[in-house]
């Protein structure tokens, strides 16, 4: 009997040695991560008590196959830049429980799109805005490593903005500030920040333009929020605008198709005197300018305008100073030359009179 038991155990051990590791993908076999997700971001609108679904597509570029996972996070606004802040769900976040993915872990062959269905079942009490992030990562990237080695787990997030319709929805944007970075610029670009505060309870999308004028004549249009970015409720978002159309102007220095980075990790810019176009003189920027902001947002009933105006100056003072110095030097030279000539003439006349 013992021989039989030992024989069975030996066979089992021999067979088990032929099997691979327990997990589908061993950590040591993992490759650098390349994750692609689409679309982004996702805006959904639904009535309370209904269900809304959306498809999120994800692809990993290999080189080998991988197992991916999706986890749900939430996001809000971070600081006054309007950038999203990714957050782990907290115990009180009931709205996280409304969300279901049709799969949370799945095999992802290299370069093959996988579609994950995200279903949100809104309770009848749902109202206003909810902000989710579907975070995709590779299974096994965050395991402990050996000596002196940290693990770096990469992930991509698809931001999902959900509005639960409600008659009490309040979409109100208030212009917090419209400012020029400097009052006086030596050279272009001139930079402006449009700071909008969403004092309502659902996200809102402003759009519009900054019109650059000189002596009442429009010479530039800068779109505001051309990407259709949202402002989350009870948060401020700054939309920058940059006027670059003119010269002289600071422009990025390019190296091999990228902006040159200095040894401090900052973008390098250089002054460009390239006017371009057929009439270069029309692009010289100097003097007093007006920037007029005209933006609108939909408050759910009608478009609400937002308007503001500021003035700024472009004074290439160093260039003007150099020109002035040259003019003064030339003038001084002419003056000295004329004075010398006059003195010589006067001197000769005096000598002639003496004779």
């Amino acid at each position: 009997m013992k021989r039989v038991v030992l024989g069975v155990i030996s066979l089992c051990l021999a067979f088990s040695s032929l099997l691979g590791p327990a997990t589908a993908i061993a950590a040591d076999d993992l490759h650098p991560l390349v994750l692609e997700t689409s679309p982004l971001p996702i805006s959904l609108v639904a009535d309370p008590g209904t269900t809304v679904t959306t498809d999120i597509r994800v692809k990993q570029a290999g080189p080998g196959d991988a197992k991916l996972q999706v986890k749900l996070q939430k996001f809000g606004a971070f600081g006054d830049q309007g950038k999203p802040k990714l957050m782990d769900p907290e115990p009180g976040d009931e709205f996280v429980k409304w969300v279901k993915f049709d799969k949370t872990e799945f095999d992802a062959p290299a370069n093959v799109w996988q579609t994950v269905h995200m279903t949100i079942s809104l309770p009848k009490t749902a109202a206003f805005g909810y902000y989710y992030a579907a975070v995709f990562s590779r299974v096994g990237d965050d395991v402990h490593r050996d000596n002196r080695t940290n693990s770096i787990a990469g992930a991509t997030a698809v931001l999902v903005l959900l509005e639960a319709r409600n008659p009490n929805a309040n979409r109100t944007l208030v212009l917090k500030s419209f400012a020029s970075i400097h009052r006086i610029y030596e050279f272009l670009p001139s930079s402006f920040n449009v700071s909008l505060d969403n004092t309502g309870n659902v996200h809102a999308v402003p759009h519009g333009d900054v019109f650059i004028k000189q002596n009442g004549k429009q010479i530039g249009v800068l779109p505001i929020n051309a990407g259709g970015g949202n402002i989350l409720p009870q948060s401020v978002r700054i939309f920058p605008a940059k006027w670059t159309d003119g010269y002289p102007a600071f422009q990025d220095v390019l190296v091999n198709g990228s902006v040159k980075i200095d040894n401090k990790g900052h973008q390098v810019q250089a002054l460009s005197w390239n006017a371009g176009g057929n009439n270069p003189f029309s692009k010289i920027r100097m003097g007093k300018y007006t920037a007029e902001l005209f933006a609108v947002y939909d408050n759910g009933h009608n478009d609400v305008p937002i308007e503001a105006t500021l003035t700024f100056w472009v004074i290439p003072w160093r260039f003007l100073l150099a020109v002035l110095v040259v003019v003064v030097l030339v003038g001084l030279g002419v003056y000295l030359m004329v004075r010398g000539t006059l003195r010589r003439v006067t001197h000769r006349l005096k000598r002639l009179r003496r004779r």
Partner: protein
Amino acid sequence: MHSWSQRLPYRVVVIVVLILSAAAPFLPSSADAAAQFQEAFLRLDRMKVNTATGGMVCAKPSVVNLASTEAHIMITFPTTYTLNTTAANWTVTTTNLPTGATAWPGIATATAVNNGAHTAIFPSTDLASSSTLYCFNFAAVSTATTAVAAANSQQASITTQDSGNATIDQTPIALANNTDDTIVITAVVPPSFIMTLSGYTDSFTTNLDPLSVVSTSGVTSTFITNAKGGWIAWAKDLYQGLHSAAASYTLPTTGTVGDSLSTQLVPGVEGFVMDVLLTTDATDGCIVGINADYDGTTQAQPTRSGGTLASTYQPIGSCTGTSGTPPTGTANGDVITMTERAAISGVTPAGTDYTDSITVVGAGNF
């Protein structure tokens, strides 16, 4: 006296007949004066029915008639085609010919177009080589119009003629017309976000040492997105420090989360930070910025500096769109490099298993 016929032996007659029979194929005759081109084709610009079209005519002369001197090239179109009889409209070019082809010598605007005979005649000079493919194009404006109805195998021909309008070479061809000859291609470019992490581990280059600040090799993260709002990246840390299970100790992260400046480590004083460096800001896109608390370059010694690691997601870098002309929010290969730096004191517990786990998440902005 014998007659003439009587004087010729029948054997001689038979021999002569045989010789003539054998030589007959090699003798010139009016029946075989016209030959087929070695190669000939008419490629119309459009195959759609009832559509104005130009075309390309190519032909390689036959060997047998090479000695003949061409003076015309005549295209006979299918009877279903309509020809504009204004010969001046039938201009020609000799550009964009097939590889290896030669411009048709002496080709010029058509001299005669007959809509009844469905022929267009162009001037030509001698096609001197039997190994050359001669080509030319005729114009599409107010010249030929394809058949009204779709049809296959519509008979046409290409003919060369000498100055006396005698045929030299001729090849029959068949043309077809379809209800449509274009394929409408539609494509969708979806909004997408691609994040590449160069590795999933990051090792310290040497053992940690109380006399220096030691850094990891660094991991790069590359961002590509057509999101007009740019992108943003966050990081969170499992232990907020380097943790050793064996020593039951965590070398803590240093500084304050969300600080306005990065933290500079001091050799001999315990500390652990992550430095984020802008490596590439791809042109024609959004402007990459590193969050000040993770930007080691804000300190006097960047190679000893970095940001405080937190257990919650903290923004480490972003690419912000500006509303210039055109608006820039996309990214086509922005790269940031993340490097962890650590310093220990003389009493930091020894251990061979100090490790940390950092999660980096990227997203296209909303």
